[in-house]
Structure formats: structure tokens, C-alpha cells
């Protein structure tokens, strides 16, 4: 067993680089799918270093505090999961992180920023029930919310949660800002209202949001790998295939409206998750 301090330090300092690499890979793959050459693999790191060296323009101090909280809660969530702590707690901290982002967008007077925040609320409303049901399912199998007890039943979670897994993939598409679910922010459409929530952040503060996104991507990868925790290479392979499918989905789908997303998530995804939980309960 590795020392928990070392694990925590690794989670804090190594994770953003893995996240940045995944974002770079995402941009490269997207470009190849659109028959473009695409930016270098390290492009996200160039972007963030450039942003950190730009002039800081502060709209109001509260917004900057919320950007910081967004990052801190996300790091805390990654550290908690890496240390094998309570997953329910990690999920609530993740929600806190997103709420900080929403409040940051709401704290300025720009209507675009507020519309972006409202869209983020809708996204949260869509995916939070599914994440909770996922943890309920894990609890029914393992009798524990602790991440370190993920192997308690001795067999991979995916075999017991076959319907929650696709529902989680939909949540992952929302969190990764992929079409057709990219309403509050997206990697594309920089001129559109979907960029509203980041509108008033500039320079180093935009870099904070970008770094937080790197942690977030790693977190999603971590959870996907947990579905096959008995063998880490198989788990990583599943995560890589899922990541590729998300990028493919992003490139073949158009962006739809938020009422569609809410309806879809609360019928199809929630239906899958509830069916799985009922099946486990009976």
C-alpha cells in the first residue's frame, strides 16, 4: 500500500498533466476526424501557460474567489477518491465545485454569463440523479460507500451495473462538454452563447477553469476504470474505448436544446439507472 501522503501529492501534481494530455489527444483526434491536421499534443499546456502570463483583469473579486473554489473542490474530490475515501462525500464535493462555477457566472452583470450559469444548472439537474443512483447501486453490491471497498464483492462492477454504465457514459458526455450535451461550455463554438459561463473570466482566471477541467477529465477516467477495478489494464482499456466513443459522438452529433437534454436524461438515462438499481434490490 502506498503512503496516503504520496498518493495525495500524486493526485494533486500529476493529475493535471494526465488531464492536459487527454485534452490534447481529444483535440488531435477531433481534428483528424474533421480531416484537419490539428494542434500539437501539448497545445492545452501552451494555452494555459500563455493565459497564466496574461494581464489579470478582474471584473469583481467574488468571481475570482468562486473560480478558486471551483478548482479547490475539484482537487479535493480527486484526492478523496484517490485515497479510497467515501464516494458519496466525493460526489457532494464535486457538486460544490460545479456550484462554485455557477455562482461565479451569476456574480457578474453580464446577461450572457448568467444564461451560461442557468444552462450549467440544467446540466447539473440532468446528471446528478444518475450519479447518486450509481452510488446506490455500488452500495447495494458492496454494502459500503467507500472507494477502497470497491473490490469487496470480488467481481467487476460492470457485471452488476450493466445498465448504469451506459447511463454514466451519458453523464460523462455532459461533463466532458461533448455534443449533443454541450450547453454551458464546449470545446467548439467559441463565438456562441454556450461560452457564456466563461465570458467574464480572462487571463490567469480562465487558466484556473481550464486546469479544473483537466482534473475533471481525470476524475471521469478514474470512475470509468473503477467499473473494472479487478484488473487495472482492462479498466484502462474500457476507459480508452469510452473516451474514443465520446469524441466520435461529439463529431457526429449536432448540439441539441437543453429541454431535450433534460427529457432524455430523465427518461432514458434515469430509466436505465433505476431499472438496474431495482434489479439489484430484488
Amino acid at each position: 500500500m502506498i503512503d496516503p501522503v504520496i498518493t495525495a501529492l500524486l493526485a494533486i501534481f500529476a493529475v493535471p498533466f494526465i488531464g492536459a494530455f487527454l485534452v490534447g489527444l481529444d483535440r488531435k483526434l477531433t481534428a483528424r476526424m474533421q480531416s484537419r491536421i490539428g494542434p500539437p499534443l501539448l497545445q492545452p499546456i501552451y494555452d494555459v501557460i500563455k493565459l497564466l502570463h496574461k494581464e489579470p483583469i478582474v471584473v469583481n473579486r467574488v468571481q475570482i474567489i468562486y473560480a478558486g473554489l471551483h478548482l479547490i473542490f475539484m482537487v479535493l474530490c480527486v484526492v478523496l477518491l484517490a485515497l479510497g475515501q467515501d464516494m458519496l462525500m466525493a460526489l457532494f464535493i464535486l457538486a460544490f465545485s460545479t456550484i462554485s462555477l455557477i455562482l461565479g457566472g451569476m456574480s457578474v452583470r453580464s446577461p450572457y454569463s448568467r444564461i451560461g450559469s442557468q444552462r450549467e444548472i440544467m446540466q447539473m439537474l440532468s446528471y446528478e440523479p444518475i450519479l447518486i443512483l450509481m452510488l446506490v447501486g455500488i452500495y447495494l453490491i458492496n454494502d459500503s460507500f467507500m472507494a477502497r471497498d470497491i473490490l469487496a464483492s470480488g467481481k467487476p462492477l460492470l457485471l452488476s451495473l450493466p445498465l448504469i454504465f451506459p447511463a454514466f457514459l451519458m453523464v460523462m458526455a455532459i461533463k466532458l462538454q461533448k455534443s449533443p450535451f454541450d450547453f454551458s461550455t464546449s470545446h467548439h463554438g467559441h463565438q456562441e452563447i454556450i461560452k457564456g459561463i466563461t465570458l467574464e473570466y480572462s487571463g490567469p482566471f480562465l487558466a484556473i477553469l481550464e486546469i479544473t477541467h483537466w482534473y475533471e477529465i481525470f476524475l471521469l477516467f478514474f470512475i470509468i476504470t473503477m467499473f473494472w477495478a479487478t484488473s487495472i489494464p482492462v479498466g484502462l482499456l474500457i476507459a480508452a474505448v469510452c473516451f474514443f466513443c465520446e469524441i466520435l459522438l461529439d463529431n457526429i452529433m449536432a448540439r441539441l436544446t437543453w429541454p431535450w437534454m433534460l427529457r432524455f436524461m430523465w427518461t432514458v438515462a434515469l430509466g436505465l439507472a433505476v431499472t438496474n438499481v431495482l434489479w439489484l434490490y430484488i
Binding site: 484537419r36 490539428g38 494542434p39 497545445q43 501552451y46 501557460i49 465570458l199 480572462s202
Partner: protein, 159 residues
């Protein structure tokens, strides 16, 4: 710092252009030219941008907006003026409402000639401006940043 050259984010402002330059500029974003391979991202928000790309001749109506967009960009920043109109006012130069080229209002770093300029020339201009960002950053530390000190533009006379 090298990262600044590798990730120039641009914001495009159309100062009453005939759309010729704009269409050639947008062609740069297509898969044929693919500016993203240089790390160039077309952001719609001056607060995220490093380089302001202006097309068209400045007139009394949009001079206020152009200055506002320029001032909202965080330093270091650079300006690229597209086409003959962006440089001097072009065929619009003698119009009653036209002030002239973009450099009458904000400091321009790179002029891309042509009517309209080719996408290759536009990409080259943007990358040259990206290299100038480092120079601007040094100037900023030396306290020699270019501010909007050009003569105030007179309001059009009311008829």
C-alpha cells in the same frame, strides 16, 4: 516566452467591411487551411483573445465599438488589419463618414495587403503578430506599453 507564439487566440471585428476579407478570414478556419494546427483559436470574446483581427475601414459609427473591443483585451495584445480598407480606407477612404485605416484609431502591428488578401497571407499576418506579442510583453514590463493616445476622434457633425 515561446508559449505565447504557439497559442494566439484571435477575435475578429468587422469595421464596415464588404465581407470579402471576412470570407477569406473564415476560410482560414476551414479544414483546407486549418489554423488550429498553429494553435490559433477563433474566440468570440475579446477578454480571451490575444490578437484583434480587423477588417474594413473605420467610420464614425463603429470607432467607439472598435476602441471598446481593443481596450477589453488583456495585455499583451496585437492588432492585424486586413485588406486595403483596413490599411488606408481603400476605395472607401474618401467617403464622408470614413476615418481611414484602422491605425487611425488603434495601434496596428501587421497590415495584410490585398483586396481581399489570400487566406495564406492572413495566416502569415496572424503568426507575425503572434511573434510580436513577446515584444509587447517586454515593452509592458519596461512601462512602454502602447496606450490609446491617438488624437480623439471628432463626432460627426449634426446636419
Amino acid at each position: 516566452m515561446n508559449c505565447r507564439e504557439k497559442s494566439p487566440w484571435i477575435v475578429h471585428f468587422n469595421c464596415n467591411s464588404c465581407n470579402g476579407c471576412d470570407i477569406e478570414f473564415l476560410a482560414c478556419l476551414t479544414p483546407i487551411y486549418d489554423v488550429e494546427r498553429f494553435g490559433i483559436v477563433h474566440v468570440g470574446n475579446p477578454k480571451h483573445a490575444d490578437i484583434l483581427v480587423v477588417s474594413g475601414a473605420v467610420n464614425h459609427r463603429n470607432v467607439r465599438v472598435l476602441k471598446n473591443v481593443y481596450e477589453q483585451m488583456p495585455s499583451p495584445k496585437a492588432v492585424v488589419a486586413l485588406g486595403a480598407c483596413g490599411a488606408t480606407g481603400g476605395i472607401m477612404a474618401d467617403c464622408y463618414n470614413v476615418l481611414g485605416g484602422v491605425n487611425q484609431v488603434i495601434p496596428v502591428d501587421v497590415l495584410v495587403p490585398g483586396c481581399p488578401p489570400r487566406p495564406e497571407a492572413i495566416m502569415d499576418g496572424i503568426l507575425q503578430a503572434a511573434r510580436l506579442l513577446n515584444v509587447h510583453q517586454k515593452d509592458r514590463h519596461a512601462g512602454a506599453e502602447v496606450r490609446l493616445t491617438l488624437q480623439p476622434v471628432s463626432e460627426p457633425e449634426k446636419v
